[in-house]
């Protein structure tokens, strides 16, 4: 794809994101739905940093997403009523866990890596599920709310004003997406693509493959836990399902659905997933089978995802 085409895609994506709350209502949506697309889109893009650009499949990203969510929720519930601090704590907890677990598993490859990431994810799931007195157990953690942002010169009411909260999320999303895009265009980012393309060649070019996969894993989980903190803040609630391995699977589905070889693909996948979920689930309880059917069709006929189809159309 040429540079002009890429710039046009970027401009289109940002235009849609910047205006979303203003037309969401007209097409049958609502601002909270737009927030969900952003937050889950960020999580899927974070996963794709590892999956699409390093070639490593994690089936346990919900663990870091969920640790971010609980980190933020517990900070607000037990420590201090500060939204920024809750985000910092959530991200720190998720990233730290990823750094430790990542170091233990970077030698594994393929399905073994995926299995072990599931296993570690389930450990955190059962901790939150069982530890009722602290995490609220199966009922989730309630009794807290996101707090208005006090910036000194002004206060942003992100609790009462949906749009204000949407744009707060968008700012964080933009920073995260910007950092990931910058990294992928850097020499470090190119070593990750090298590992995806041919690990043996990468190693014999002098790249310590395990070290680079570890870094990619930690960066990926950092942004996944950021998405998790925002998810908890969005719902003013979090429960163990945020860490369940099914949630990890949803992130993988979003990335593959949208196109894991493209930067924005997972965001498109997340939008399709969230909208389908929102719409079809009002019609039938079995909404997941429709998402599943759609997923199977995309994988069978458009292995490069939805964005892959659009691109091929644009190129021809």
């Amino acid at each position: 794809m040429n540079g002009l085409n890429k710039q046009a895609t970027n401009a289109a994506v940002w235009l849609v994101l910047l205006t979303m709350p203003y037309w969401m209502g007209a097409v049958g949506g609502y601002t909270e739905l737009a927030c969900r697309i952003l937050v889950l889109g960020l999580a899927a893009m974070a996963l794709n940093f590892l999956l699409g650009f390093t070639g490593v499949l994690s089936f346990g990203h919900a663990a870091y997403f969920g640790l971010g969510a609980y980190g933020a929720a517990m900070t607000l519930r037990y420590l201090v009523p500060s939204t920024p601090l809750s985000i910092v704590v959530g991200v720190a907890v998720g990233t730290l866990a990823a750094a430790i677990i990542g170091a233990m598993i970077v030698k594994l490859r393929g399905v073994y890596f995926a299995m072990v990431t599931i296993a570690f994810g389930q450990v955190f799931y059962f901790i939150t599920f069982r530890w009722n007195s602290v995490t609220g157990g199966d009922d989730g953690l309630t009794g807290w709310k996101r707090q208005a942002l006090k910036l000194g010169f002004t206060t942003i009411d992100i609790l009462g004003n949906d749009k204000a909260f949407y744009y707060t999320i968008l700012v964080l999303f933009a920073v995260a997406a910007g950092v990931m895009a910058l990294l992928l265009r850097s020499p470090f980012g190119r070593t990750l693509v090298a590992i995806r393309e041919n690990e043996r060649r990468a190693r014999f070019l002098g790249i310590p493959v395990e070290q680079h996969i570890w870094l990619s894993f930690v960066i990926s989980c950092l942004f996944a836990s950021l998405a998790g903190t925002l998810y908890a803040l969005l719902n003013n609630f979090t429960d163990p399902r945020a860490l369940y391995w099914g949630q990890s699977g949803n992130f993988v589905i979003m990335a593959v659905l949208g196109g894991m070889r493209s930067f924005w693909g997972p965001l498109v996948g997340a939008a399709i997933f969230v909208v389908l979920q929102d719409y079809v689930s009002t019609q039938t309880e079995n909404w997941m089978s429709f998402v599943g059917l759609f997923f199977v069709l995309v994988v069978l006929f458009f292995p490069r995802g939805v964005l892959g189809i659009l691109r091929r159309k644009a190129a021809s």
């Binding site: 020499p187 470090f188 190119r190 070593t191 090298a194 041919n198 060649r201 190693r203 014999f204 070019l205």
Partner: protein
Amino acid sequence: MSLLRVENVSQHFGSLIAVNGVSLTVGPGELRAVIGPNGAGKTTFFNLVSGFFPPTAGRIVFDGKDITALPAHKRVTMGMARTFQITEIFPELSVRENLRIPVEVAAGMRLMPWQSRKTDAEMQERVAQLMELGGLAAKADRLVGELPHGDQRATEIMMSLALKPRLLLLDEPTAGMGDQETYDITRLIRRLHKDQKLTIVLIEHDMRVIFHLADRIMVLAEGSILAEGTPVEIAADERVQAAYLGKAA
């Protein structure tokens, strides 16, 4: 002073002895060929030298330092680069991108999370030089996986060269190639050896290539050294002839 000194290395896979007490000394600027019938242990020997796996026994010294236990990527950082019998490249990237990665790694930039315009221009310049040297400039933006075999092989050699190695290990660089491609690759290797004074060890089957290039030849058979000498000496050696003819018959 030798650049590479291999002392009595052996490699056992279970009860199979793939390499049995092989020693080799290569001086700076030398071009050494390793030949031998199929299954003689040539590639296993290369894998030991380049750090694919540690040897069962023996010692490997590179540039005066014992590297026997050093992982592959550290040997690369010390100046040892290799190619593979089955070309190892990044097939879904362009020639330019394939070369860009080792150029940046060699510049110590593998962990750099951003890039200035100045270094970007420097890296592109170096990539352009390498493509020129390898005869790949006209195919710079083609995906390597779509190029003919000879160009893929040339890309792999240039990727290794991008690392500015002091020792280049080439595993059957002309395997599976037609006459013209073989000629082109041979000329490229000869240029690297003569013009850039690069030390090269290569495994090869094509005798024309070997006699054209090699200063000295080591012959392996069934994991052990059968003979060692200049091309003329090796050609006259009856044991070598027997080993090859014995296999063929």
